[in-house]
């Protein structure tokens, strides 16, 4: 099937500053793609390039099989939702929704029809006569989504649409956006720096850094098999525990860090058995076992609890063991306090190994 959006060798620079570098990306029909990265990684810039709000320096952009590289934003067949809602303050919600349609010269009846349909989908019918100033944050964002919806386009672009909302509303609207996507089945590109939004919404996540896509894969793969240390470190909260050490050869590969040395039995290397050398050994806090579970783990050690963060659903503990400070995720009911001694263990099969110099997955 033809991809909905395809970006070929896209580059953008402001003077000498290269914001996007030779970027290639294909987004399938009806796919929900999330661009994720820390601020300044170029994710919003990429979205603005797709929308046509920024003139690119090099490369091509195709939307729906059509080369739109030089086209105006309004002609690209996209709808866009902004972080600050960007509703026109002097127009009513209905006016906001119909502004683009009026500019396109649609007949009045058609405009009214589309506005009403969008309002119905988003449940903002009672608000149509109001000005944006008289709406709450969530209602404003819904109206902003409505403005993209009335355009009847196949591609929606979201630029951190939930960042200005409070935590509860954000969770609610996140679900609504997901439902909207299931209902409309159109292509969506969603920029965020919130990894929970990325993990929950995305069909695929593109992790960006320094104007390039580091890894493009499903949330499951990104979480469980990050291809680089940066991605491993970026995804997951609290972050992955890393041991700085070296892989030693022999009939059984061993990882040595400080006084700790253990075999890497069970770990599936990406590209065959690696040569001995320095490496990072990473393991997620939820893969750290404690108490009775730790007894059966292939690798065991004793640690001292420094800090406890009870989250209700589960409890995070910062533990010092063998000179390493480690995050451990425990059951929410775990009776644990700062200063306790605790047995911890883990299985190398669940770990992630990265080359020290290239930081790529081994």
């Amino acid at each position: 099937m033809e991809p909905s959006i395809s970006i070929k060798n896209l580059a953008l620079s402001f003077g000498n500053l290269k914001v996007l570098k030779d970027l290639n990306l294909e987004v399938g029909q009806g796919e929900f793609l999330v661009l994720l990265g820390s601020s300044g990684c170029g994710k919003s810039t990429l979205l603005n390039c797709i929308a046509g709000l920024l003139d690119i320096t090099d490369g091509q952009i195709f939307i729906g099989g059509r080369n739109v590289t030089w086209e105006e934003p309004s002609q690209r067949g996209i709808g866009m939702v902004f972080q600050s809602y960007a509703l026109y303050p002097q127009m009513t919600v209905a006016g906001n929704l119909s502004f683009g349609l009026k500019n396109a010269g649609l007949p009045k009846a058609e405009i009214e029809d589309r506005v009403n349909r969008a309002a119905k989908i988003l449940q903002i019918e009672p608000l149509l006569k109001r000005k944006p100033a008289a709406l709450s944050g969530g209602q404003r964002q819904r109206a902003a989504i409505g403005r993209a919806l009335v355009r009847d386009v196949n591609v929606f672009l979201f630029d951190e649409p939930l960042s200005n909302l409070d935590a509860k509303l954000r969770a609610d609207l996140r679900v609504e956006i997901k439902q909207l996507h299931q209902q409309l089945q159109n292509t969506m590109i969603y920029v965020t720096h919130d990894q929970i939004e990325a993990m929950t919404l995305a069909d695929r996540i593109a992790i960006m850094r320094g104007g390039q896509i580091l890894q493009l894969d499903t949330p499951h793969e990104i979480y469980n098999k990050p291809t680089s240390k940066y991605v491993a470190d970026f995804i997951g909260s609290p972050t992955m525990n890393f041991f700085d050490g070296a892989i030693e050869g022999g009939d059984q590969l061993r990882f040595t860090t400080g006084d700790l040395s253990f075999t890497l039995e069970g770990y599936e290397f990406d590209a065959g058995t690696p040569a001995p050398g320095t490496a990072w050994f990473g393991i997620r806090p939820e893969h750290m076992l404690s108490g009775a579970d730790a007894e059966n783990a292939p690798i065991r050690m004793n640690g001292q609890v420094n800090l406890v963060e009870p989250l209700g659903s589960d409890t995070l503990a910062r533990v010092t063991a063998e000179g390493h400070a480690l995050w451990i995720r425990l059951d929410g009911q775990a009776a644990i306090a700062s200063g306790d001694s605790i047995a911890i263990g883990f299985d190398p099969a669940r770990a992630n190994l990265f080359d020290k110099t290239t930081e790529n997955r081994l």
């Binding site: 929308a51 309004s74 972080q83 809602y85 002097q90 502004f99 683009g100 500019n103």
Partner: protein, 305 residues
């Protein structure tokens, strides 16, 4: 232990509680309002003298009690200032200058603001190659002293054939208002969220569509500020008026000067005072009517820049 318990208890009962009392005649209030009243009187006194003098007849003025209210109120100086006072050969009072000033101010204000707002909008939202350089040059223009440009402009106006006419003066005012007005509008439009502009582009609005339908309705306060700045500035202008017009087309300020500074005959202080008040009435009215909007607009424009 027990003692201290009692102590804190009584302190809680007898000590300060609730809203802190604010005596009206505190040292602070006396200082504050005293200063304000003194300053207000200082600035209002000349106006009082002008009004009082303009309502007196000449014999009463000659008594020399300039602060005394008029014994016999007469409006004759006002009538004379408006329609009879002589400047040069014309003896039709300030009315001629008033209408000249209106004919100068209205088109100058409208044209300068129309152009400057579009300038500011383009510089803020449609950055083009060299727009920053253009802006710098424009701002630099506001630092060049007027005196340097007076004679070159005389030549330019003469060459295009509008020297001495109201049209010429309107052109001069429009040009000289450009740097400060463009700066004002640019800074205001820069403070409008960029996403709004992007959203309008996605919605298919072009340069003028965004200007008229999005930006203009949002920027009423800054337009009020610009209108006030221009009306008062152009109405009060003397230098350009005296240089670029001729007696028939003198604006009100120039005519006022000619009435007050005439060296022939008796000095009619009452007529002079009335003429001055009439001339100052327009900017004064503008300030009174729009004071609140003015402050709001200035503040809005000053937030970012």
């Amino acid at each position: 232990m027990a003692d201290s318990q009692v102590l804190t208890d009584t302190a809680a009962v007898t000590g300060p509680f609730g809203r802190r009392p604010k005596p009206i005649f505190s040292r602070r209030n006396i200082m504050l309002y005293g200063t304000l009243i003194v300053i207000a009187v200082y600035y209002l006194l000349p106006l009082y003298v002008m009004v009082v003098t303009s309502l007196k007849g000449m014999p009463e003025i000659r008594l020399g009690n300039i602060f005394a209210p008029p014994v016999e109120i007469t409006f004759e100086p006002w009538v004379k200032a408006w329609s009879e006072a002589c400047t040069g050969l014309n003896c039709d009072g300030l009315s001629r200058g008033f209408w000249n000033s209106v004919r100068i101010t209205v088109p100058s204000v409208i044209i300068s603001i129309a152009i400057a707002s579009v300038n500011g909008y383009a510089l803020a939202n449609w950055r083009f190659r060299g727009s920053e350089v253009f802006f710098t040059i424009l701002i630099f223009g506001s630092f060049i002293p007027y005196q340097v440009m007076i004679y070159p402009i005389v030549i330019v106006l003469r060459e295009i054939g509008v020297y001495g006419s109201l049209t010429g003066l309107v052109i001069v005012h429009t040009i000289f208002g450009m740097p400060i007005l463009t700066l004002l509008f640019r800074n205001y439009f820069v403070s409008v969220p960029e996403e709004l502009f992007k959203a309008a582009r996605v919605d298919g609005a072009g340069f003028w569509g965004i200007y008229f339908q999005i930006m203009l309705p949002m920027s009423l306060p800054i337009f009020v500020v610009a209108i006030i700045l221009q009306i008062t500035g152009i109405w009060n202008d003397f230098l350009f008026g005296v240089v670029y017009t001729k007696p028939d087309t003198y604006p009100m300020t120039v005519q006022l000067n000619n009435i007050v500074n005439s060296v022939q005959g008796v000095k009619e202080y009452n007529v002079n005072m009335a003429a001055t008040i009439i001339t100052g009435l327009v900017p004064l009215t503008v300030y009174f009517l729009s004071g609140k909007l003015f402050v709001r607009g200035i503040a809005a424009g000053a937030v970012k820049g």
